[in-house]
């Protein structure tokens, strides 16, 4: 599947910001099952400093600094990305989750895709016994990892209410879990907390989701949003498998990966330090159009 992606992020500041330094994760990179044909980020106003590079997890990051007062900031991503789903997996044929647990902690790789980075508490996701107990219901002894994780994915979809007013970007997984409500970021965080509490490696993935148009109707422009889901490590042979607890599905050709990390704080599209006295307004528009 070939997608044209356009994302526009607009900040308007109540008072002029005299100085800002930010890290942007707004450009997709090639990954297993994903090719980037073209990608470009336009920043208005033009920053004083701009450096493009890769972070530890292989995400493309753009570091910018603005050393002059500015009242607005617009970040426009345009990309053409090809997504190809791998061969279908038989969830019941994957290794038992206990085996995954032992393999993961004994892994000798320190590289960015190694499970060892995704086993432990991270900045936004604590080890949480309550969520662990909830997740454990999907993990009876000996159950294959993908079957169990997929079951957890569907239970979160069924048990949690999608409610943007219930949480915000700083909500901790424990709170979203207690409310059984939130948005994609919360569902991903809750699922990761559950898996890690059971000793299983789980990663946070941010990106885009193509909303399938209803039959016979044109797709709605601008109806899509930035999305987040989970990747679960299924052993050295299979590697990482994407699971989307917001939609209760396994990731195939409808998801485009933007950034991967241990939690939202590793994958945040815009992160930074601005010197300001006032508040700001934020407005994000995303279009993911299938071109072929």
């Amino acid at each position: 599947m070939l997608y044209d992606i356009r994302q526009t992020t607009r900040y308007r500041y109540a008072a002029p910001v005299p100085f800002a330094r930010q890290v942007l994760r707004l450009l997709p990179v090639a990954r297993a099952g994903q090719r980037v044909i073209a990608a470009d980020l336009v920043i208005t106003p033009a920053p004083t400093e701009r450096h493009d590079g890769l972070d530890f997890f292989g995400n493309r990051i753009t570091t910018v600094a603005f050393a002059f007062p500015h009242e607005a900031l617009t970040l426009e991503t345009r990309a053409r990305v090809a997504v190809e789903a791998g061969p279908p997996l038989d969830a019941n044929a994957t290794p038992a989750f206990e085996q995954i647990r032992d393999q993961a902690v004994a892994d000798t790789d320190l590289g960015p895709t190694s499970p060892v980075h995704f086993l432990f508490a991270s900045r936004a996701i604590a080890i949480d016994e309550a969520i662990g107990a909830y997740a454990a219901a999907s993990f009876p002894p000996g159950r294959p990892i993908l079957a169990a994780a997929f079951d957890l994915t569907r239970r979160i979809k069924a048990d949690f209410a999608y409610d943007p007013t219930a949480t915000d970007v700083t909500t901790l997984p424990g709170d979203a879990f207690a409310k059984r409500a939130g948005v994609c970021q919360d569902f991903a965080h809750v699922m990761i907390a559950g898996l890690r509490t059971l000793g299983l490696p789980a990663a946070y993935v941010s990106g885009f989701l193509r909303t399938l148009p209803p039959p016979g109707q044109p797709r709605l422009e601008g109806a899509d949003a930035t999305h987040a889901w989970v990747a679960v490590w299924c052993g050295r042979d299979i590697g990482w498998v994407g699971l989307d607890p917001t939609n209760g599905v396994q990731v195939a050709e409808d998801h485009v990966v933007l950034a991967v990390g241990r939690d939202y704080s590793d994958a945040a599209p815009v992160d930074g330090v601005i010197v300001t006295s006032g508040d700001h307004e934020l407005d994000v528009e995303v279009d993911v159009v299938a071109v072929a």
């Binding site: 330094r21 530890f56 570091t63 892994d107 320190l110 086993l119 704080s265």
Partner: protein, 835 residues
């Protein structure tokens, strides 16, 4: 002295020595420093006891008191973490040093250097190629799971080639008499400054004993460490900077102390800025490159952009500057990784793998539960072990306060832990429970004095010098209050002791090696961070403002006591001036006396003397490295004095307190005047004082200098401390024009406004100019005009509007100084109301 007397004396001393140690009983199953495994007193210790006994009980008490006073006078404190107000505790010193023999020390020294090499190599690999993980010598999960594995720094090669430059080890002597490493400190080890202070205190109190014991000196170690860091300072636009989290940190005293001792600039994150991946210090002369940072701030807090976004203490972009190799940080960001307890289990193997050597110093036996066999062992031996977090300081919900003795864990908690060990064993280690050796402490006084054993642990330091690793021949000994405590920390109450490394030969008084960085004479210290300048400026303002408030209070209280003056009317004017200066509630304090009392004692309202003294102390606390210990003492004493309740509420009580406080301020002024080198820092302090004094005298003239009533003019002369001059100059009762001329316009009177204006003008001329093309800056222009106007004005023609104009000019000068030199800076404590 006759032979008989000498004999009796030495017999007395021998008896005293006998009494000191008569009841010394080592604890069962624990090694002791004083009594060897054979049950005999170790010879060097016996010599120490005899020497102390020779001094006699009175002399010993005197010596101990001297040491304590030295520590108190130097302001040695440590702060209970996170408490803003006050809770600074005096440092408890155990007066008996911890003695180490030369042979034993040689082995410790070799073991420490080996360990520093090993941990530095492990850090290099973990942030580099990752071979140790790849070939299984060190589990990748231990590295990846540590909260101190900072991913933005992976692949960054440190300037100078070493992740570790200052490293500390906690060691204890085990029951078998061998030294064991209990833990490693590689993040930003504390205590070296306290060790120095303990050394100074004790060696001054016992100089003869100290010399006769051939104790190794500490100075050479610090000189070598400093030289190593200075060698990395390539641009030399600024000195090496010591990066501190600030005065709220529990070891801030030590940061300031070490900065002063090592000749480094003390900076907070706000003092630094990153531009184009290069670190600069904000100074009063603009941005200057900072090449080398000695870091006392935890690495995770060092860069809110790429590390902990919640940090308000760091420098955005610092990690990027490290990656571009534009700054050297000691220790490197991420060096805390090797503090993980789980590492301990792998170090013996890693020493063979990395260095091809066996570990000289064993560490506490440790089983990482991320491995099945080790986990099963820990579960089986649970009650005999210490269960501890493997990778960080705690395991939330399970080991919230860190390590616990297995036998002390309740059955319910144990069941939870065992379940967690099954799922997430990687978060835990089991460790052998080590009983630390005991060392003699001095208890009681006079004939009751006894030595008693107490558990102790040593912190020893290794630094990277110019040419390699160097070990501090001494250290920091922590001693438990409880005879049976296992964990020794100062938070739990306890004391510290100096560590004496004994030498077989006399030790040179000063260090042998001239340090290359000390050779060039310097008369100017160029780097003054803007924040330090600002706090000096505000220290000057606050101290002077305190003085003005106290003088008003004193004048009011004195008018009541001294019936000679026509009290009521004058007091009313003074009271009005006080109301403008301070801000206590009018309704609550109906009479001038009540208001004077409130200004003197109320800690709740703004601009009262206690609040101003507190603001002075806060401003001073941020720049302690730039004040002499005596000057700091004055400011701290002033605050302490103002916090004490008054004995009574009569005018005499008020006068006594005001006078005592004014004497402290006079002492501070004297110290600043006589002891502070005339550099930019002094200029900011002085300018702050001059501005505030000008404001105070102008205000006083407005209230007491306009009507011409003799009582008011008399009060004005008192406020301006100009009585005597007036009496010498004019043999008559106070008259308006000569009084106003003397206190406002006489540029030779150090209390007059004209004098302040002229001083401010001169001080500003000596500051680095921010105005282009040799033109005067806005502050200079204002000061020049004010000096000219006050210097040429006619006292008879001066109205209230003129005086208000002078005050406005002073406040604008203050604003312009802030804009030119402190931009984007807040004072330590924002001043309410004025300026």
């Amino acid at each position: 002295m006759t032979r008989k007397q000498t004999n009796r004396r030495s017999r007395e001393a021998a008896d005293r020595a006998e009494r000191l140690i008569a009841n010394y009983r080592p604890l069962p199953g624990v090694a002791d420093e004083f009594i060897g495994p054979d049950g005999a007193i170790r010879p060097h210790w016996m010599r120490f006891v005899e020497t102390m006994a020779d001094l006699g009980p009175a002399e010993v008490q005197h010596r101990f008191a001297l040491a304590d006073r030295h520590l108190a006078d130097s302001g040695v404190v440590f702060r209970v973490y996170g408490e803003e107000n006050g809770d600074e505790r005096p440092w408890p010193l155990s007066h008996v040093p911890f003695l180490i023999e030369p042979k034993e020390w040689a082995r410790l020294e070799a073991g420490l250097i080996q360990r520093a090499r090993l941990l530095d190599a492990i850090l290099g690999d973990a942030y580099g190629e990752g071979w140790l993980a790849a070939d299984g010598a060190l589990p990748a999960a231990i590295i990846a799971g540590s909260p101190e594995y900072l991913r933005p720094l992976v692949g960054a090669r440190p300037v100078g080639g070493h992740h570790l430059r200052f490293y500390a080890v906690d060691v204890g002597r085990g029951p078998d008499g061998r030294w064991w490493v209990v833990s490693d400190r590689s993040q930003a080890p504390s205590g070296a400054g306290y060790a120095l202070e303990n050394r100074i205190a004790l060696s001054r109190a016992l100089p003869d004993i100290f010399r006769s014991f051939n104790v190794e000196r500490l100075a050479g170690f610090f000189q070598d460490f400093r030289a190593g860091l200075n060698a990395l300072n390539r641009h030399e636009e600024t000195r090496v900077a010591l990066l501190t989290p600030g005065p709220l940190n529990e070891t801030y005293f030590e940061h300031a102390y070490l900065a002063r001792y090592l000749g480094f600039v003390l900076v907070e994150g706000e003092d630094l800025t990153v531009r184009d991946d290069t670190v600069y210090m904000r100074t009063i002369s603009g941005l200057k490159r900072a090449d080398v940072l000695l870091r006392r701030l935890d690495a995770d807090f060092a860069d809110p952009l790429e590390l902990n976004p919640a940090s308000r203490l760091g420098v955005p972009g610092l990690a990027g500057a490290v990656r571009q190799r534009n700054v050297a940080i000691a220790n490197a960001l991420g060096a805390g990784l090797v503090e993980a307890r789980a590492m301990l289990g792998f170090l013996p193997g890693l020493a063979r793998r990395v260095l091809g050597e066996d570990l000289i110093l064993p560490n506490v036996a440790t089983w990482w539960c991320g491995q099945t066999l080790e986990r099963d062992h820990v579960v089986a031996e649970f009650d005999r072990m210490v269960i501890a977090p493997a990778l960080g300081g705690s395991v939330p919900g399970l080991l919230d306060r860190g390590a616990m003795l297995g036998s002390a864990i309740t059955p319910g908690h144990k069941a939870e832990l065992i379940r967690a060990l099954g799922r997430r064993g990687a978060d835990f280690v089991g460790q052998e429970a080590v009983k630390l050796s005991t060392t003699p402490t001095w208890r009681g006084t006079g004939d009751e004095a006894r030595l008693e054993p107490r558990p102790s642990i040593l912190r020893l330091y290794v630094a990277r010098g110019r040419d390699g690793w160097t070990v501090m021949p001494g250290g920091f000994c922590r001693i438990s209050d409880q005879p049976d405590a296992r964990a020794v920390t100062l938070h739990q109450g306890g004391a510290s002791a100096d560590v004496w490394v004994l030498s077989d030969e006399p030790v040179a008084e000063t260090t042998l090696l001239p340090s290359p960085d000390k050779v060039a004479l310097q008369r100017v210290t160029s780097t003054l961070p803007s924040r330090a300048a600002e706090n000096l400026f505000w220290l000057g303002r606050y101290v002077e403002r305190t003085e003005a408030a106290l003088r008003l209070v004193r004048a009011i209280a004195g008018r009541h006591v001294d019936a000679e003056h026509d009290g009521a009317a004058v007091v009313e004017r003074l009271d009005a001036a006080l109301a403008e200066a301070g801000s206590v509630d009018d309704d609550e304090h109906a009479t001038p006396s009540a208001r004077a009392l409130a200004i003197l004692t109320d800690r709740g309202a703004f601009n009262t003397a206690p609040r101003l003294a507190e603001a002075s102390r806060r401003a001073a606390s941020v720049i302690r490295d730039r004040l002499s210990p005596d000057a700091w003492r004055c400011v701290a004493d002033l605050e302490a004095l103002m916090q004490q309740p008054l004995e009574g509420e009569t005018d005499s009580d008020i006068l006594e307190r005001a006078n005592a406080a004014l004497r402290l301020i006079a002492a501070f002024s004297g110290l600043v005047h006589e002891n502070m080198v005339r550099q930019h820092g002094w200029r900011f302090l002085e300018t702050g004082r001059r501005i505030e004094r000008g404001l105070a005298i102008a205000r006083a003239v407005r209230y007491c200098g306009m009507s011409g009533r003799p009582g008011e003019l008399d009060a004005l002369l008192e406020l301006a401390d100009s009585h005597i001059t007036y009496r010498i100059r004019y043999v008559m009762l106070p008259a308006r024009v000569p009084v106003v001329d003397l206190v406002l316009l006489d540029s030779r009177n150090p209390r007059a406004l004209a004098f302040q204006a002229e001083r401010i003008r001169q001080l500003l001329l000596e500051l680095p100019a921010h105005a282009p093309a040799g033109l005067l800056g806005p502050a200079d222009r204002l000061a020049t005009r004010l000096a000219a106007e006050t210097g040429t004005a006619d006292a008879a023609a001066l109205g209230i509007d003129h005086i208000l104009g002078f005050e406005r000019d002073l406040m604008r000068i203050s604003d312009e100084i802030a804009l030119a030199y402190f931009t984007h800076r807040r004072p330590a404590e924002p001043a309410e109301g004025t300026a």
